[in-house]
């Protein structure tokens, strides 16, 4: 537990990044990224690359900063007052925190799904095409086409194709979450950010969403935050373990879950602490 003690006493510890990761091409690379809420530092010099076309899971005990890290990727933290950042993030080589970047355009290149399903109070169709609408697309045919594609990819098409004009709020929880995923992928984002997408769902709905993530793998680069170890091991290709704002270990999921290099990782995975 020496690393835990070091971190608790405010020291930096180097991250254990597996060499297997280096084979990949990164869609997103994070360099020495730190973040403060007011005077409280929540992320400590995190450096990691998110492989393209793979599923990367962020795991860690509550409050370790995994959601904050995810929200930093599409600069959702800007909405919170008194946030300061340091370090660098690059989306396909383009700096995210450059002062000249257009945040709105940046967010359009990413899709995000939240913990609780948050369909908009409008029809299913309008929910799905919302990102296109705000982009100025109003051609009914193109919208319909995009809507159908996104809903098929989100495995929701067969369930809702006859009631696209009904309110999105009428769907069940699992369907709502898949609707949100459809909304997130309708504009073909470069990276899909999932913030504990199954935590508010029942096991059956969770299974469906997990199947969906499996199917989306390859086509989209996915960064998923989860507190569910089994889920991480089931669906992700790579796993990063965060602890109190520090990245401790990052490697292929199979290695992390079978032969973790750090004892802390093993303890967390086996449930001995966290």
């Amino acid at each position: 537990m020496d690393r835990v003690k070091l971190i608790s006493s405010g020291r930096m510890v180097p991250a254990e990044t597996h060499e297997a990761l280096l084979e990949n091409e990164f869609v997103l690379s994070i360099e020495n990224f730190s973040l403060w809420y007011g005077s409280k530092q929540v992320l400590h010099q995190i450096s990691m690359g998110i492989p393209s076309g793979k599923v990367t899971a962020l795991i860690g005990p509550s409050g370790c900063g995994k959601s904050t890290l995810l929200r930093s990727v599409n600069r959702m933290n800007d909405l919170v007052e008194s946030v300061d950042v340091e370090g660098e993030m690059e989306l396909r080589g383009e700096s995210i925190y450059n002062s000249s970047i257009n945040v709105i355009e940046l967010r359009k290149r990413m899709g995000m799904v939240f913990q609780k399903p948050n369909p908009f109070p409008m029809s299913i169709f309008e929910n799905v095409v919302y990102p296109l609408r705000i982009d100025g697309e109003s051609h009914k045919g193109r919208l319909m086409e995009a809507c159908e594609r996104a809903l098929r990819e989100a495995a929701l098409w067969d369930e809702v194709k006859d009631r696209l004009s009904e309110s999105g709020l009428k769907l069940s929880g699992g369907q709502q979450q898949r609707l949100c995923i459809a909304r997130a992928i309708v504009s073909s984002p470069e990276i899909l950010l999932l913030d504990e997408p199954c935590s508010a769902l029942d096991p059956i709905a969770t299974g469906k969403v997990e199947d969906l993530i499996e199917r989306l793998k390859g086509e989209y680069s996915i960064l998923i935050v989860t507190h569910n170890m089994q889920q991480a091991s089931r669906i992700s290709d790579y796993t990063a373990f965060l602890y109190l704002g520090h990245l401790l270990e990052y490697g292929p999921t199979s290695t992390i879950f079978t032969r973790p290099r750090l004892r802390e990782t093993e303890d967390y995975i086996t449930g001995r602490f966290g």
Binding site: L79, F114, I134
Partner: protein, 804 residues
């Protein structure tokens, strides 16, 4: 097996609070229903026709009227009384009189079948019996009017000393007596025989209706001429602005002389007509005819002389030099002369046209006043009994009540008393009414249910669609309904964008700061400020300051205009700071800036903001090029008084805090997760607000609108300061260009209730109208509210369904 009811188990049978709370509930509901029931009863009763009872009093007089209630039925006889609506009453200003039961001899009263109730345009209704229907010979009367002109011209010439009275020729000598006999003949009415009364009244109604239509047309023509005159006067004054005061005086002089000239020309025309008439009268008599021609020539010569004099005066006015300033070139002076002579020509023709229309109107008036009905009134408190031979009426089977007898062609009504042995008769008071004053008549004691219902609905229709009569005591309240609706709609149109946008800024854009909290608390408090305060502010700020500014420019409201150069400098400075501010706000800013830079930035922005605000105020308030839009109407204010526009502004200001508060609450109810979802899709703030926040908050925003509308429809205090009047002749929104008349005063239902109920000397007469107006106002507010609630629930159904 039947399951035991779960409900029974949870009923708090042993809980004492059920009685306490239930008791409070019952009392509250009772009070509310009492309130609604009271108003509903009185208003529904208001227009219902009642029977007319005739009472004989112990002092030997009669009193007729609609019984409005018996008082003190449980008390001893001498303390009981009756409320009686006597209608038109020469002795009292009160329409409902209270009569001691002791003073009445016959209870129950008599309900004579032939009593007629006549509702009149400008007085209380009359209850009586028709004794005569007559028609004046209006063609004779018109002739008298034409004939009279000659005599009056002669007399006025004599009065001026132009002609001596002793010089009258043969015709002039006999003229007064001829005219007098003509007048006598014309004043003799043609009585309609009794058998043809019904028919005749129907005919009269038709003639009078047609006549009134013609009168309306003529009046419209007159108002058209008035408008034309005032327009050309305005044109003159506008032209005069570039010149001096003496030019304005000249214009006024021209109008005065033009009027006199028109009158003189009309007089010549009238005298010619009069002379023609007299010549026709004395066709056979050669000497008289000759003297008619002689005196016509004399009078015409006099009148023509007068006219020529006036014409010269007019020409001198146009040609005079008093208004010519040395700086004027010959060309501009000639132009001004041209303009003045044009003006004189228009004014002259307009005035003579006006006089002609007035003559026509006088003729129509003669026709209008020619058709009469004579009523025998049944309130004869001042009539002494005349004991006449009772044997005349021995054949009548009436024991107590009215007996009739024919006197010549007409009817005479007398009262047979029940108090004395045998029969005593009374002569009853008579009253002539003009057919044109009659709104409607009916036989109240003969009306069946159907007839009553018809009359009832007729009265309601008049109430809803008609204009007020008798200062609002009768007739309709349509102008008040219309004024209320127009004002409320205008108010909503003004308050909604301001309130919603302000709330959006406060909730969505503004950063949390001390300043924002202070503003928010202030706005919340303003929602509770007494409305009269807004009224006073509206009068002072909108009416007098802004209205005065619009009417007469900066000078009118006591602001010295800036010199042109400094105004230009100030306006460019203001413009620059506004543009700079806009640029600073709109240019993309990084969130991560140095604190010192941010502070300096803020200080600088604040300076710019102050410059922009103060500058725009000064630039507008002290503009040197603005003389006011209605300076030609001054000193009569156009917008510088209470009017529809300022009333709507004041009400908008009054309801603005309500709208802001409710909208802010509605906006804050939008879940953060929705907004985040939208931002994550790459939506901008405004896109999120427009596509998500506003639709989601719509029910709450509509609630704010309902509240403001209900307030606008029901508020009285501020409105009476800023433009509501008890009786308005014009509607604020009509078919006349420019359709919406922001500068007109208007009527309002709430104020109508106040002015009828409290500003009226005869509250009893006003009571039915007050209740009917109250129920109407309540209905309007109910309809508005329930419509909005329905809309809200419909939107709610669309928006929200079960979440999981």
């Amino acid at each position: 097996m039947k399951r035991p009811s779960v409900r029974n188990n949870v009923t708090a049978s042993s809980d004492a609070m059920i009685w306490v709370s239930g008791g409070f509930f019952v009392v509250s509901c009772t009070l509310l229903f009492l309130f609604i029931g009271h108003i509903a009863y009185h208003s529904l009763h208001a227009h219902w026709p009642r029977r007319v009872a005739v009472f004989e009093k112990t002092d030997g007089t009669l009193l007729a009227g609609e019984i409005h209630g018996y008082h003190g039925e449980s008390l001893p006889h001498h303390e009981q009384s009756i409320s009686l609506r006597t209608g038109y009453n020469r002795n009292s200003t009160q329409s409902i009189s209270t009569m001691e039961m002791e003073t009445v001899t016959a209870i129950p009263p008599v309900y004579p079948e032939n009593v007629i109730a006549v509702e009149l345009r400008e007085s209380e209704p009359m209850f009586g019996l028709i004794t005569q229907v007559a028609q004046l010979q209006h063609s004779l009367q018109t002739n008298v009017a034409i004939a009279r002109v000659f005599l009056s011209e002669i007399e006025s010439a004599e009065a001026k000393g132009i002609v001596a009275k002793k010089d009258r020729n043969a015709f002039e000598e006999i003229l007064p007596s001829a005219l007098a006999s003509m007048i006598e003949q014309a004043d003799e009415p043609i009585e309609i025989p009794m058998e043809r009364w019904d028919e005749a009244i129907a005919d009269f109604e038709q003639i009078v209706e047609h006549n009134q239509h013609l009168i309306r047309l003529k009046q419209m023509e007159l108002s058209g001429i008035d408008k034309q005159l005032s327009a050309s006067r305005k044109q003159g004054i506008r032209y005069a602005v570039s010149r001096n005061q003496s030019f304005v005086n000249t214009i006024d002089e021209i109008f005065r002389v033009a009027f006199e000239l028109g009158a003189a020309e009309q007089a010549i025309y009238d005298v010619e007509a009069s002379a023609r008439f007299w010549r026709d009268q004395f066709q056979s008599d050669d000497t008289i005819s000759k003297s008619i021609d002689e005196s016509t020539d004399r009078i015409k010569a006099l009148l023509k002389q007068q006219r020529d004099q006036l014409e010269t005066e007019l020409n001198t006015l146009v040609k005079q030099d008093s208004w010519v300033s040395p700086s004027d070139s010959q060309k501009t002076t000639n132009e001004a002369r041209e303009f003045l002579s044009e003006l004189a020509k228009t004014a002259k023709s307009a005035y003579s046209q006006q006089l002609r229309v007035n003559t026509d109107l006088a003729e129509l008036d003669i026709v209008r006043n020619a058709f009469r009905i004579e009523l025998t009134l049944l309130d004869c408190e001042t009539i002494a009994p005349t004991h006449s031979d009772r044997t005349n009426y021995a054949d009548s089977d009436v024991k107590v009540g009215i007996v009739s007898t024919r006197v010549g062609q007409s009817l005479e009504f007398l009262w047979r008393s029940g108090s004395t042995q045998g029969a005593t008769e009374f002569a009853l008071a008579k009253k002539q009414i003009l057919c044109s004053d009659v709104i409607r008549y009916y036989f109240p004691n003969k009306l069946g249910w159907l007839g009553k219902l018809q009359l009832y609905s007729e009265r309601w229709i008049e109430f809803l669609a008609g204009s007020p009569r008798r200062n609002g005591l009768a007739g309709g309240v349509f102008p008040a309904i219309w004024g209320t609706v127009v004002m409320t709609i205008l108010m909503s149109i003004m308050v909604m964008p301001f309130g919603v946008m302000a709330a959006i800024y406060m909730r969505e854009y503004a950063q949390h700061s001390m300043m924002l909290s202070i503003v928010r608390v202030t706005v919340h408090n303003l929602a509770g400020v007494p409305s009269i305060v807004y009224g006073v502010f509206g009068l002072a700020f909108f009416s007098y300051l802004i209205g005065g500014f619009i009417d007469g420019g900066p000078q009118k409201v006591g602001l010295e205009p800036l010199p042109i150069l400094s105004w230009i400098i100030l306006s460019s400075a203001t413009m620059i700071s506004i543009l700079w501010l806009a640029y600073r706000t709109l240019k993309p800013q990084s969130k991560f800036l140095k604190p010192s830079f941010v502070a300096a930035n803020r200080f600088f922005s604040f300076g710019l903001l102050v410059t922009a605000l103060v500058g725009s105020f000064l630039v507008v308030a002290k503009v040197p090029f603005f003389e006011g839009l209605y300076y030609d109407e001054l000193p009569n204010p156009t917008f510088g008084k209470g009017c529809l526009l300022w009333a709507s502004f004041t009400m908008a200001l009054l309801t603005l805090p309500i709208v802001i508060v409710t909208t802010e609450e509605a906006l804050s109810s939008v879940p953060a997760s929705l907004k985040e979802g939208s931002y994550a899709c790459g939506a901008t703030k405004w896109q999120t607000i427009r596509r998500l926040v506003l639709p989601y908050a719509r029910p709450g925003i509509i609630t704010g609108m309902i509240l403001s509308v209900a307030r606008g429809a029901g508020e009285v205090a501020p409105l009476m300061l800023v433009g509501v009047i008890p009786l308005a002749s014009d509607l604020p929104l009509d078919t006349e260009y420019p359709y919406l008349h922001g500068s007109r005063s208007f009527m309002h239902l709430g104020y109508h209730i106040y002015s009828l109920g409290l500003q009226n000397p005869d509250i009893n007469a006003a009571r039915p109208m007050v209740y009917a107006t109250i129920v109407l106002l309540m209905l309007i507010v109910f309809v508005l509210n329930s419509g909005a609630i329905w809309l809200r629930s419909k939107i709610n159904r669309q928006m929200k369904t079960q979440q999981f």
